[in-house]
Symmetry: C2
Subunit: 352 residues, 2 copies
DNA sequence: GTTAGCACTCTTTGATGGTGAGTGCTAACT
DNA sequence: AGTTAGCACTCACCATCAAAGAGTGCTAAC
């Protein structure tokens, strides 16, 4: 029994180069066909030098090692979550191929560029490119500082309040103002407001205005509206803003030909909390969650590939792709890298 | 043969009150259960005074008249598109019940209100309330007139250009400006621009700026950007802006338990042209397209219920619900009425 | 260490027969 | 005449069963 642990007996249980090649071949084939892959397939399509029997032996070992499994005893093998994990890890350690950079950029240029818009078109571009579900998360920005406030006249009695923050986040809202304020008067108010409030966080603006409005009788109305908006912005930028696109792409994949499964998947995407639960905290590089790592029963056979992008002020957002565990990770990571870079670029531009 | 057309022979083919009641009962039952309904069901649940045999005779007549059909010879009956049409027409001629007004309004109030946002939250509210797919169309506005242009300083070298039109449509974009323009200088430019351009349509603004920029050397950059934006806005507001929400609700209904059907449905929603093809031109009241009236093979067993809402300037947008032909039209129409009114209210507010 | 051969397993597919819901028709009833 | 009971008939649905095919594990030979 003691030599059950000897080198010879262990031999079959160690990962060697050939085993790895076979495993990758199985993964590759399964990713494309979604059909359990048999030894003969590998023998003919990938390792033509080896016979199916040899492959069979190796696959048997790989199964014992936990990288493959059989849906039933006489079907081919399919990769386990552990196999995908290995596969992804090997991808991430090497460099990733970037080929689709051009088409990615094309997707962006035609569109209006403002924070929200950018986030949405990024999601839509990403889902179209990958044919999976794309998620883009706007960074939380609890410490946004106001850099400019301006009132733009609309009709008499109403004006558009524009707030610009250092992160480049722009928000505007229509407010009611006293009817005898013309364009110049509004501008004068804007200047005063900006000089007093610039550099403060949204939270501080809310507080400051509560005090300020006591002293200025006439503009009380305006101050109230601004305070409202500031606190609303603070709330909004403190919460996560999410853009999801291409959620129905999931229907293209046979693992979701069961409508109930598809519905479960889609309903997770609708539930902000659940969605956030498996999107990683901001961090460098790529994060890949596979199967149980997602932490949700409904997502037990899914995977999520995420990366982060930067906007001004040290804030980072998250962008990712969600699909069945059987995904072409290499391609996804390549696309995601480009999209992440494009986002960093565009957000920078908007923010500057 | 001539008296084959006599009153007696025709008798069974005329719609009388009892036939109508039975037809409505079949529709009602089928709408809720999605199962072909048999004579016995009607006899027990609806027309308890009549025996199943009598119902059977009437249903047979109704089938001959084209209001009912049998999926196969010994199944119950299901309503035809013609039946839904009759049903909807009778609903529309009477008043509609509005019960859910409160919950509709609640849905709106928490949200940011700006044109685009309003349209989107309307779609989302509508789909959540009805559990069907909701579509909201922003009105085309080819004749929008600029009422105000203003440059708001951001960092040095860039400014936010805000354009306000008479329809209340607000658009803003970051543009680069000469670095030695401070807040006051930008305001001065804004005043000049507004005074020269106010009242013109976006198209005219584009043209005017092409000329104007020849004379003013320094601000050429700014003018170019404005011209760009104006033409972009003109293009955008000339095109239809569509918000679709709850498209996956379709999966809740058994007629779409076939994934291929669901996919076909969803892909229509993604194709702007197809989507627009069955949304009615602006018109008063409710429009209901049923089955073949949709004009798309993929939508042959669907229905769309639409109504319109008004924004300032005589423009009207469209809001609608899409689902299987088997829909609780009464409820849908009620909800749609409230949403339409709410939209008219909110858009008015934004626009004023 | 690799491969050919073979028995075995288990899904898939198609055919078969029974069951039940629902109909149409006829004859009797009001 | 309109309504109802009764009955034969049809057809989807379901379970059962057998044949086919794909793929494996094991053994023996190379």
């Amino acid at each position: 029994m003691a030599d059950g642990r000897s080198r010879a007996a262990q031999k079959g249980r160690e990962m060697d180069d050939r085993k790895l090649r076979i495993l990758l071949a199985v993964i590759d084939d399964y990713v494309h066909t979604a059909v359990p892959v048999g030894s003969r397939t590998i023998s003919r399509k990938y390792e033509t030098a080896l016979s199916s029997a040899t492959i069979r032996n190796e696959m048997s070992d790989l199964e014992e090692m936990g990288f493959l499994e059989q849906p039933h005893v006489s079907a081919g093998r399919i990769p386990t979550m552990k196999a995908y994990r290995l596969y992804v890890d090997s991808l991430l350690s090497g460099g990733t191929q970037v080929e689709e950079a051009d088409s990615v950029r094309e997707f962006f240029f035609d569109r209006v560029r403002q924070m929200q818009d950018v986030v949405e078109s990024a999601a839509s571009a990403l889902s179209e490119l990958t044919r999976y579900t794309a998620v883009v998360l706007m960074p939380k920005q609890l410490d946004l500082k106001v850099s400019c406030l301006q009132l733009v006249p609309m009709n008499t009695g109403s004006a558009l309040l524009v707030v610009i923050t250092d992160g480049g986040v722009i928000r505007n809202q229509v407010i009611r103002v006293s009817e005898n304020l013309d364009s110049d008067a509004l501008y004068a108010i804007s200047k005063v407001l900006t000089s007093r409030l610039a550099g403060r966080t949204l939270q501080q603006v809310t507080e400051a205005l509560a005090i300020y409005s006591r002293y200025s009788g006439a503009d009380q109305e305006v101050c109230g509206a601004i305070a409202d908006m500031a606190s609303q912005m603070a709330r909004q930028t403190g919460t996560d803003t999410i853009a999801v696109s291409g959620s129905h792409n999931i229907l293209n994949y046979p693992e979701y030909s069961d409508v109930d499964k598809a519905r479960a998947f889609l309903s997770v995407l609708e539930t902000k909390d659940k969605l956030l639960s498996f999107l990683p905290e901001e961090r460098e590089g790529f994060t890949v969650r596979i199967g149980p790592e997602m932490g949700l029963r409904e997502m037990a056979d899914c995977a999520a590939v995420c990366t982060s992008y930067r906007i001004g002020g040290g804030h980072t957002g998250t962008v990712g792709v969600i699909g069945p565990a059987r995904m072409p990770y290499g391609r996804i990571i390549g696309i995601l890298e480009t999209v992440g870079e494009a986002l960093t670029g565009l957000m920078g531009e908007t923010a500057r």
